[in-house]
Symmetry: C2
Subunit: 334 residues, 2 copies
């Protein structure tokens, strides 16, 4: 294979020094028109492509940022990722995609990789673990949190949604339609989003003087449609008494839906349903599913914007927490 063309080759071809070539490449200092043309032509002639690696080594910037998400195949995170990617692309940054699969060990391993690759920043959809490590790392690399807050990391910028208010709105909607025994399905109560959405659920009930019934707060052991469906089907089989369900995220919602179908129940007559996190498909169900919509794309964009800001001027960095509004999309499942 032909040896790679380097800046030396260009300087030789253009009859100038590597420094000058570098200057036309980066625009870091003025260059006479004559030299610039010579360099540009040499670049063209030799089909030269500068090595980002070499550049990064010397200049200490890589123009890449790490993107850690729990599940890129989850449409919510997929859209978040697109928002991030769009904004990153606009600013000339590349993304290093890391899928943690909710596994803290994998998260930590990836954070180490990102450090050694010297990314300029990190957007982190955290598992909820590795807190000390993340705090320490954030002193070397700008980190912006997305989707989930991280207890003890208040000095990090974050882009979140109003989980509590959104949930409260969802449950209130159920209450206003006459439901009093409202079940709630969640996963991992210690994860920030789950905790906040639970709080919203409790808040709505309290506000309407409905007693909290622990039997209606259903925890599923694993975050998957199948696991949720199994738990819910058991609930139906056991004849647990409730008339409505609030699912705390889209996978849980799908599990509930699946159990409802398997148990041959009708929505909303046998059981009403609201899901936190909307899907374009929900409007096509019969009946269409009422859901809390999250501005996924905007979450991504904002997160990247906060990160860019912090990377551009790490000196006067001030943590910012952006909380975006969710919206209740009323359909016909309640």
């Amino acid at each position: 294979m032909a040896r790679k063309v380097t800046i030396q080759d260009i300087s030789r071809e253009a009859g100038t020094s590597p420094s000058t070539v570098s200057r036309v490449l980066t625009g870091s200092a003025p260059v006479s028109d004559a030299k610039r043309d010579a360099v540009l032509q040499a670049i063209e002639r030799l089909n030269y492509h500068p090595s980002s690696i070499a550049r990064s080594l010397r200049s200490k910037v890589t123009y890449s940022v790490g993107l850690l998400l729990n599940d890129i195949s989850n449409p919510f995170y997929g859209v978040v990722a697109r928002g991030i990617e769009d904004e990153a692309n606009r600013a000339g940054y590349s993304l290093i995609l890391c899928n943690t699969n909710e596994d803290p060990a994998r998260e930590q391993q990836y954070l180490q990789v990102l450090r050694s690759k010297q990314v300029d920043g990190i957007i982190l959809g955290p598992t909820g673990d590795n807190i000390d490590f993340i705090r320490e790392l954030s002193e070397q690399i700008p980190i912006v949190l997305t989707d989930r807050a991280l207890p003890g990391c208040d000095h990090l910028s974050a882009v979140l949604v109003d989980n509590e208010a959104g949930s409260c709105r969802a449950v209130t909607q159920l209450i206003e339609n006459g439901h009093k025994r409202i079940a709630m399905v969640r996963w991992q109560k210690q994860v920030a989003t789950m905790a906040q959405r639970t709080a919203g659920y409790e808040w709505a009930l309290r506000e309407h003087h409905i007693a909290l019934d622990p039997a209606l707060m259903i925890d599923v052991p694993a975050l998957s449609v199948e696991s949720t469906a199994a738990v819910m089907q058991q609930m139906f089989a056991d004849g647990v008494d409730f008339t409505a369900i609030f699912a705390l995220n889209n996978q849980l919602g799908l599990g509930v839906l699946s159990a409802i179908q398997a148990s041959a129940l009708r929505i909303p007559d046998d059981v009403a349903l609201v899901v936190f996190d909307d899907s374009p498909m929900f409007s096509l169900f019969s009946p269409p599913i009422t859901a809390i919509e999250q501005p996924a794309f905007a979450i991504g964009e904002q997160a990247m914007r906060l990160l860019l800001k912090q990377m551009q001027d790490p000196e006067h960095y001030q943590p910012e927490t952006v909380v975006l509004r969710t919206r209740l999309v009323k359909r016909e499942s309640v």
Copy 2:
């Protein structure tokens, strides 16, 4: 901020040379136990983390591969990405995520970035354009195609599905259920997947001696649910005569579904439907939607495996085309 710890610092601390430190780091040559321990301890004490950048510059490998996809927020590509990520992670590679959004200019721009970042390989879900550029680039960097074949790039390994057979199966299913006037909805007929699926459609009709009716081959101008819905609603309004629809991908399927709902038609009585590309939600529709399932995760895994193979031994590289089988998931929409 504290100056970064380098290999020099370690060598000093451990009372040895940088070369030796490098040797314990990479295991490229034997090191005595005494020295090794001293180095390891120094690394521990100073909290040293080697710079991948510097390493890559010298050793010419980056342990990162580019991942170009058209739409990471599309669940199909999301699952493909997970398959790739899983396999890449296992082999110690990082992914650079590039979303092309079906835009050839963006695709080319990204390919250039990947070259300058000196990725060890590229997995490409191509827009269908930039063929010459891709061919040229593939002489410098291993490239594996996913999802779509690329005319004139037969020397590239690729992981595809049996689009033609799958489509034929889908349409045959409609025919066997008595349908004769079967519409087909597609986008960009020159894109490989669309062309192959169209061929499958035509093949099934031919086999059953049903004449092809160009009026039933519907092209939508843009790949989006809204655009498809608009076109289909017009078809319904115009009273075009067909009893079944075959949608060539998931977005098109959603658009059709949306139009059917807006036009208050019933499935399968007013119109039957099969969608190429299944969704976990399809089984929850009423009626559940019949679809062609693609092994998305396996596509990703296989693509990464082919790439790994090629990267490990570029010398005796032999292009391989893996065609994975699709499966008809019979539900109740036909």
